[in-house]
């Protein structure tokens, strides 16, 4: 599993920019960013280099950041690929809290999943024919 940085943001002007600037100034490179927003606030989910350091830097600068363990799964570029994975998880009684995709070097797609039950998720994913990516493949 990999470390995702989650940041709670109030819907105030410039907060997302300030977040990105803070990471940039610390020399931390981002690989993926997704923002879930509600009327009042947003939750930014980030895959970046040196997540532990990113977490420290953000909290020092007054952001509400946390580290979350998520699965990064290599998904083949073919019709129904992701559906097969999700069906396998569903059949095993594992719910997906959220998911998003990003591309890595070589044109491969990585699907990030947070699931409600980690215990046998990796087994289920592997048994369905998918490969779980390791931290070293995704960030420094």
């Amino acid at each position: 599993m990999i470390d995702q940085i989650t940041v709670f943001l109030e819907n105030d002007k410039g907060r997302l920019a300030a977040l990105c600037r803070t990471l940039g100034d610390a020399g931390i490179s981002m690989h993926a960013l997704t923002v879930a927003d509600t009327a009042q606030y947003g939750v930014a989910r980030i895959i970046a280099d040196t997540p532990a350091r990113a977490y420290e830097v953000l909290n020092e600068k007054g952001f509400r950041a946390s580290l979350t363990k998520v699965f990064a799964i290599e998904v083949p570029d073919s019709a129904g690929g992701l559906a097969t994975l999700l069906e396998a998880l569903g059949a095993a009684g594992i719910n997906v809290e959220y998911a998003y995709c990003f591309a890595v070097d070589g044109g491969k797609a990585i699907d990030v999943l947070r699931v409600d039950n980690h215990d046998n998720a990796e087994q289920v994913i592997t048994a369905a024919g998918f490969r779980v990516a390791q931290p070293s493949e995704l960030y420094a």
């Binding site: 995702q4 989650t6 709670f8 109030e10 509600t38 009042q40 939750v43 509400r64 946390s66 959220y98």
Partner: protein, 449 residues
Amino acid sequence: MGKNSAHQVAGPELYFQPEIEKMGRLELEALQLERLKKTVQVCYEQIPFYRQALDAAGIKPADVQSLADLTRLPFTTKQDMRDAYPFNLFAIPATDERVQRLHASSGTTGNATVCGYTQNDIDVWGDTFARAIAQVGGGANSMLQVSYGYGLFTGGLGAHEGGIRIHATILPMSSGNTKRQVQMMKDFDVDILCCTPSYALLIADTAIEMGYDPANDFNVTGAILGAEPCSEGMRTEIEEKLGVKMVDIYGLSEVMGPGVSCECRYQNGLHVAEDHFIIEILNPDTLEPVPDGEWGEVVFTTLSKECSPLIRYRTRDISRIIPGECECGRTLRRMDRITGRTDDMLIIRGVNVFPNQFQEVLAGFSEVTSYYQIILTSDGPMDKVTLRVETVPEFDFDEIRKIEDLQRRINAELKSNLQVSVDVLVSEPKSIERSEGKAKRVLDNRDKS
């Protein structure tokens, strides 16, 4: 060891005046009406302020024919009392032989308010305080330590009069010299302590510092504490450290002093001495009565006071009537502990709300810190309330539904406690103002019309 029983609600209920404390409501209301008529009559005849006020309201004393007529009578405010400084609200001249004593409020924010007491006024006061002494198990064989200040302040002498009426032995310590308080409490086998909650705690801590375990080593089993707010946590601490049953007593120098209302052993509201005072709870905006159970301004009318009677005195204290009957068997209705002053009150969509009610609700949620801010804005003609809270560092906000679930639960709890719908806004850490002194908890940005 034998003191543990002091913490339990058990055994016979102890009354000082059972014929009044357990009087049927109809009989009590008849007594109130009879005394109200007399009070209005005396006010009209003896006090020019009231004659003018009643004339202006178009009411003659003879018009008071039922307790419902009370609502037609004019109010008395703290300012009226200040303006009457020193003796213009007295029904009997201050130096008349019938007047025995004067008490006065501190007057830190204006003229002091002064009240006179005849011997009967003092006896009535003593009786109401004695009811509290009986409720904590005290009686004629008690050793009563009075550690309220003696003087113009009503605490010391009010407790003292209670001791006289119940024939206890009184130790008039007044406040201060805490080590000596502890020593005498121990050496004289004091069983009942009367003082402020904070002083009771200081006495307990001083005793412990002196090497005693007052909960077990001392004979003290009852504490009658008042004149300042006391949280449930503080009550528990006092009860455990001293090994006492504590009852909260309420009173104001303008109305009488401690004893206007007092808790019984069940500690669920303060029984009002309704034979001597009529309590009303009013919406401070409309000055109309609110139903039992709803919060509002406490208004008292005195029924027995001879020297300084008051008609509908607005205390600015906020409380409510606790509906239903008390397990103790007393028929005297209960008021809740004072939650604040009208000066702090917010009126939101016509509902009276106090900032500390928000605090109490939030204290039940381990997910949020103790910092909060209430923001009032206008949404058309409606008031909109936003409550900003901060989550604790351990809170997992990665799943949005957990934040939304938290908001929903806080909202539901506020709605059921305050009858007000609130938008709960989870805020970034440390974005809510911290303050050494009084934090600005309320931002009222409503359109002023």
